[in-house]
Symmetry: D2
Subunit: 332 residues, 4 copies
Amino acid sequence: MILTVKKDANPTQLDGLMEWLKAQNVEVHISEGTYNCVLGLVGDTSHIDMDLISGLNIVENVQRVSEPFKNVNRKFHPADTIIDVCGHKIGGGNFQIIAGPCSVESEEQICTIAKDVKKNGANLLRGGAFKPRTSPYAFQGMRNEGLKLLLEAKKETGMPIVTEIMDLSHIDLFADVDIIQVGARNMQNFELLKELGHSKKPILLKRGLANTLQELLMSAEYIIAGGNENIILCERGIRTFETATRNTLDISAIPVLKEKSHLPVIVDPSHSGGIARLVRPLALAATAAGADGLIIEVHNDPAHALCDGPQSLTPDEFAEVVKSVNAVREVI
Amino acid sequence: MILTVKKDANPTQLDGLMEWLKAQNVEVHISEGTYNCVLGLVGDTSHIDMDLISGLNIVENVQRVSEPFKNVNRKFHPADTIIDVCGHKIGGGNFQIIAGPCSVESEEQICTIAKDVKKNGANLLRGGAFKPRTSPYAFQGMRNEGLKLLLEAKKETGMPIVTEIMDLSHIDLFADVDIIQVGARNMQNFELLKELGHSKKPILLKRGLANTLQELLMSAEYIIAGGNENIILCERGIRTFETATRNTLDISAIPVLKEKSHLPVIVDPSHSGGIARLVRPLALAATAAGADGLIIEVHNDPAHALCDGPQSLTPDEFAEVVKSVNAVREVI
Amino acid sequence: MILTVKKDANPTQLDGLMEWLKAQNVEVHISEGTYNCVLGLVGDTSHIDMDLISGLNIVENVQRVSEPFKNVNRKFHPADTIIDVCGHKIGGGNFQIIAGPCSVESEEQICTIAKDVKKNGANLLRGGAFKPRTSPYAFQGMRNEGLKLLLEAKKETGMPIVTEIMDLSHIDLFADVDIIQVGARNMQNFELLKELGHSKKPILLKRGLANTLQELLMSAEYIIAGGNENIILCERGIRTFETATRNTLDISAIPVLKEKSHLPVIVDPSHSGGIARLVRPLALAATAAGADGLIIEVHNDPAHALCDGPQSLTPDEFAEVVKSVNAVREVI
Amino acid sequence: MILTVKKDANPTQLDGLMEWLKAQNVEVHISEGTYNCVLGLVGDTSHIDMDLISGLNIVENVQRVSEPFKNVNRKFHPADTIIDVCGHKIGGGNFQIIAGPCSVESEEQICTIAKDVKKNGANLLRGGAFKPRTSPYAFQGMRNEGLKLLLEAKKETGMPIVTEIMDLSHIDLFADVDIIQVGARNMQNFELLKELGHSKKPILLKRGLANTLQELLMSAEYIIAGGNENIILCERGIRTFETATRNTLDISAIPVLKEKSHLPVIVDPSHSGGIARLVRPLALAATAAGADGLIIEVHNDPAHALCDGPQSLTPDEFAEVVKSVNAVREVI
């Protein structure tokens, strides 16, 4: 870590800083310049909060030389992590398509879709039981009941299921879920992340709407620090000034995350654009950019199932997307 | 709500949409144009999810005419909400300064600061017991123990206390806390918001780093929908492309929120800038823009208490800020 | 255009607004609601400035139903525009790769690279003569001299040349340039756009760092309104909160622009990421998402030509990227 | 400047980098770490382009220790710059209010407003002759004719005039203008900035919609590097994800710019919010935060002068704002 301290730094504050830094078990190398003084911290600085230091009046700026994440860092773990979900591998060259409806609505609905997507190339089933909704007046999901129906669909089709957890108090309800999804809004719900660190289940960690890739990796570090190494990172679009799409898919996140970390990276083309007709181009782009998988919304009846209609494909559209995705995978 | 539907809309999808809209108990007025068809929805549309509709292939765009929030909307409740915290009023022309350290570190620390800030013009005491930290390796706060020390400080000084909750499972620990703070990262932790809606305690709801003012009001709507009307909104800076400050204080949020809602609005000048020397100008700006209060970090020993040093003032700097803030309040 | 006017609108202001609206030659349909009044404007509203109206005290919000751009709008011109540059077609299924160095440095450099990239699959040559640089102390390009060297390279290789114009006063110097590039910083240099509208040369219009897709199309509308229909749109990354990459490539821009407009859309994977090792994945993603071409930086000597080294590929890396790009094109 | 180079850096590239760095006349100090190697550059690095280096494959990150701007840097010029415009001083404790209409429409209009705002406390007159408009179909200003009318108003009232230049080819037309404004969209029109550097006139440099404060200072550096030290910086709101206001006024920009530079900083509360009723709170906030002045839009007839109506005040509203602004100035 490199600190640039103001030339006119108050000596008492500077001494306080130096003292504190040494208490953090890091060596401090000082080099005086004409207009400022540079402190180089040598040792493990991962536990030092940059914001705390950068806020100090005497500090001009702070720069990390080594990343603050350790266990998810490819530098310390060069080999790709491969996650096995009931025999379906993700990462290390293994590509998986997760598909299903936005929300679970009925046994008939979820089972029909499950069979459809399985037939058309999906190996894992997604479906929302607990739904984070901006409005308290909007449908909040079937919750508990929805989880039961997902397990029904799993029994009927043999597909492992992926569904979102909204609070750590629900964790026992997720005992039979195969992959627990942490939604974008909970990416920095640290109490939840700690709890999931004590589980052994694969965690699908979605990037927050306005979180940097480093923050995403730090949230993964929370889970891995608890002992759970089964983490799948998911890019699902970030919030920018552009309003033509609901979110802006950060396609560069794929190569950057795979360079910095050994964890698998999948993409959600449905929520990124928020429009069904964008799912195909975004799914192809993500595949071409090196994603380890896709999580796509599919519903059975566009005309009537409006709740998950918008950004969802019909089974036929889905089949067509899978075909193109596989074609792209073969050439890259 | 105004929907613009594509001219070449697939009739089956359009019928499905019309059917679904009617099922939402809203009247639909249709007006055909040359290049598109406009649907005007009349009735209560607050429960309709715009994103769901805007994602439909046949929909060109959607625009709310009436806001999706009801109980926090000034239109339906013109008078300012005034919140009384142990006799200290916030809102409706009543201005309060909340001050204290970033983290509770020891009884001596919290009590010393409490007395200092009380003497210098703060009526409420803030202090972090549960700390949301980006890194799992950083100090996570004294948690339970910290809450006890805050109550000690309350007993010694008589100041009501404000502290952050990180998970709904902790709610019983907050029984004696006077104002429960929901941090920026939990602004859309809907399960937590629902739980707080069933409490009667004042809630200090901080705006998320990348949440719009409407989303902030929708989160407040979650709390009020549960029956708890004691909500204080807090602007604490948003995430933008600018890196010279930790966050960008959205000063316009104050007049906009006060125009749209009857809830009191306070500002956190400490986290907005992330630098102690910015607290004074930002506190004065917030006061001049019409804020109902401020929440400011103060610590007792800049040289040694680094953990809450950076964006914190010394008691003397704090006293000076309070003096200027009061001077500005008198002239506006 | 749909205007929502406040219920308590000052009648004089409302009359003024109505009067003004009628003066714009649009019909106004009024529908009164309980909490507001909705005005529907029918007719050509493309010349009406939304910002002006949305700023009015009596106006709650404004929404365009029809887009403000006309001549670049696919609705009014469904067929893809195909631009022919010395026999090389762009758009309408025709894909082109433009390659070359960031800056022209010497005749030997530009000619060597030109031959290299031509051999490896590029049909057009790019190279910077006038360089927009953030710092006045940084190399500003060879300017005039650089243009001459580009024309030399064209003579030697027969490749049409693409280079950036920085001010309309330079336009005569660009008489022999085949495609004039408008850089991101000049996307809203309206005086320059007007001037280029009177030219017949193909214009490569780059999206501004923080401009919406609609603003990009409005800038294209400036050029086409002047009579020049030869416009190529270019996505080159936008500014967001993410700092891991220099800019964030907005991959969704490709399908969205191609849906809204008939103009060809190309992508610059070099500037989007700002890192050479990101060029390949971003180029493949852009191709898979349906781009009509790519503009890629290539230099001849990574170890020494630092000025254009960073985000540039070596000729061999470039050859490899072209091979993969073509493979992806075949399968989609 | 601190470079962090990858541990596995290709030696040829590393040699190339070292060679190039030395050619920039900077000393390079190397310190090897376990996972990377840190290069410290000592000397004048202001001419080195960080982006170029950070893009290199072998470079992990780059951090400036000294700012890239020199002549506008307070470190090298501690005293406030005071700009004298016909006897009206700006900066160094001197506060000025610039007011006038968005666009010049007629002699009667501009002269009436000029007298009004002068009577109510403005010392300088603003008015748009050349108007940058997003749409080619919108009113582009009276241009030349508008400048003549502004000079008329100056003759009648004695107020110095401030108006925007859109292209360097117009510079002769601005011979009698007192302050030349560079609009947000031209903040990085470097050819224009160079030209203005050769003028002696005060330049009002507006921050670009998505430009960092450092980029604003670098643009000022372009002007000062040409020999013109009469620069007034202007914060006018930045583009963020928030849509409740047209732009987000970055209030922190005032203290940050004044700390980093000796140039005066004024604020435009009219364009920041884009809504007349926000002008008062934003003007007061800017004053309280330490701005050296304000530039406010005022028009004479809200009901009919719609073009500049939205974000403009009436003369009476303006008078009221000036009164409050002065009251705030007295107490801080």
